[in-house]
Symmetry: C2
Subunit: 356 residues, 2 copies
């Protein structure tokens, strides 16, 4: 039995069931056509939503936050790249809150300065993606807390009882008072563009965070604000083929600051859909649907659809070997990262333009 | 049996016992001599402390906050006047936080804008007292939240469990998450000058708030900061002669924006230490120790010591009648308020100089 909460993800996930349990909706054909051209929707990574079908017809803001617990992984980065593509497609405002405070409160071993540092490092990666500085705002709670956001967090807090966060997240009395309060800050992050610009928010987020949007919708109702919607993603593959790419397990992910050598080493060890021996592979073929390298190409990196199909078919037929697929993927990841790391350097001078 | 907590004061108070229970110290002769010339110490209104005897020998900051639940009373104002006299005597920094957020969180009927308005109105009264703008800082949490204060509140929050605030203040699970969190903000208010200027804080406050200082001292220890001290006052007399002057019961106090007529009306009704009839008064004399008008003169308004003694003795002997004492006090209060209200008007232009 799978368990999916903002603080825990366990087991094999039946996404349709999760969505049904949560009360969200699957993306239907009509909505899909409005999101046409967005790769992660086409690839069914973003698969569910709340109210996006209504909100998308007018002006809206995207909220996509980041808990800077560790270095950004390549997969996390692709989520923000998706947000950037949404901005390009819809011309919408994007608000990116960094919950350095939440991470600090949750982790007994994380000190204040380190929380700030992580937020800064993560922000550089995101700015490097080329968001429009006129329409994109970043708040790092510990660096540029905004009066409007603070006030909103208190207005939210007034509508949420300790019993509510206890039943939603299991927070018992031995948790610190900041952790309880943080739900209000998270919801304030979500409602910030609504209060500031009088437009509804759409939260682009992993399906495990959906409960925050549910809570935020209750709070919005109490504050007489338009309810936020969301666009929910499945978990992205980890290098071991497991369910959730984790930024806190170094071996399980490629980081945006990995060296070219790191990339090679990690992908060589990544979970493969190939067979035990070359002979067996040639005979029976590989399984691209579980092959981490193929997933990277499919979801993020191979922009040439014909080439992708060729790789898929050749791998499945046994013509393309695991080693060859890995070699190709390593080259693609390295190209992407080399370019990204250059842009990330330039982002150091641009970050200030994004702060509220 | 008296009950004294930040949220409740009941019954007759044995101050020595309260101090002993709380673990604070009475002001001894040595400390009193260092505080010489401060009227409210001489009059034994400020009567107890924590660590002030140590802290007073070096540079320190005074923290004296204000929960803007209603208009400021004359008695509350005198507490801030005392703080101003401390600043004059010791040349120390003063930090005045307005917990508009706390009042908003605690009171279901108080809306956000009204909380802000009350803080602003109260701040004008305090600025009118003539604090040194170079050494005095005001934060209204909903108006000029400071990044340093916000960060500090989160650092404090991490060290305090929900169980702790439950046992300290009786906050059960049905309280909102902001109320629980607010303890951290209150303590951050207290430790703000310590973090900003690297000097210990002395909180000038009513004895009922002492538990916050106790908590703040625990938190300071955990954050490796110097522990704050405090200087504790007794409750000031209400017009009915009761224990605590309440800003939320209009009849029980004189407000800083009362008209001259209001003053007259209220003091005429104020609790008197006089006798039932003129004859009885002439014969047995009045009791200045319970007479509200005499208390006003004694604690706040009569700067001429000889005149005060004369009033005391004449009232006690029966030579001075209640009506005469009231008439004199009304005149004194009106003089004070008339002057104060002028300064308060001027404060509107000065307030910005005090905001961090």
């Amino acid at each position: 039995m799978a368990k999916v909460t903002p603080y825990e993800v366990e087991g094999e996930i039946d996404y349709n069931k999760v969505v049904k349990e949560f009360g969200a909706s699957l993306i239907d054909e009509k909505l899909k056509s409005k999101l046409a051209g967005l790769r992660l929707v086409d690839k069914d990574i973003f698969f569910a939503h709340r109210d996006l079908d209504k909100i998308i017809n007018k002006d809206f803001a995207i909220v996509s936050g980041r808990g800077p617990s560790a270095k950004l992984t390549l997969a996390h980065l692709q989520i923000f790249k998706f947000v950037k593509e949404m901005q390009d497609k819809f011309g919408c405002r994007v608000f990116i809150p960094f919950s350095d405070d939440e991470k600090f409160l949750l982790n007994p071993n994380l000190d204040f300065e380190e929380s700030r540092r992580l937020a800064y490092e993560n922000a550089l990666d995101i700015v490097a993606l080329g968001f429009d500085p006129k329409k994109t705002e970043i708040i790092m709670d510990f660096k540029n807390m905004d009066q409007e956001l603070f006030n909103l967090s208190m207005r939210c807090a007034k509508t949420i009882t300790n019993n509510t966060v206890r039943s939603a997240f299991g927070f018992t009395g031995d948790k610190n008072i900041g952790i309880n309060f943080y739900s209000a800050m998270q919801i304030a992050h979500i409602l910030y563009p609504t209060v500031k610009y009088n437009i509804p928010s759409v939260v682009v987020v992993g399906v495990d965070q959906d409960i925050f949007i549910k809570l935020a919708r209750d709070v919005a109702y109490k504050l007489k604000l338009p309810k936020p919607g969301d666009l929910l993603s499945k978990f992205l593959p980890s290098l071991s083929g497991g369910v959730k790419m984790s930024a806190s397990n170094p071996g399980s992910a490629i980081y945006t600051d990995d060296s070219m050598k790191d990339v090679e080493k990690k992908l060589k060890k990544a979970f493969s859909g190939g067979r035990e021996t070359v002979e067996e592979h040639r005979k029976k073929g590989g399984d691209p649907s579980v092959d981490v390298c193929y997933q990277y190409l499919d979801l993020f990196l191979e922009n040439d659809a014909a080439k992708l199909k060729e790789i898929h078919d050749d791998y499945k037929s046994g013509k393309l070997l695991s080693g060859e697929l890995k070699k190709y993927t390593i080259k693609k990841v390295q190209e992407f990262l080399r370019e990204h790391q250059k842009k990330r350097e330039k982002a150091k001078k641009m970050l200030d333009k994004f702060l509220v």
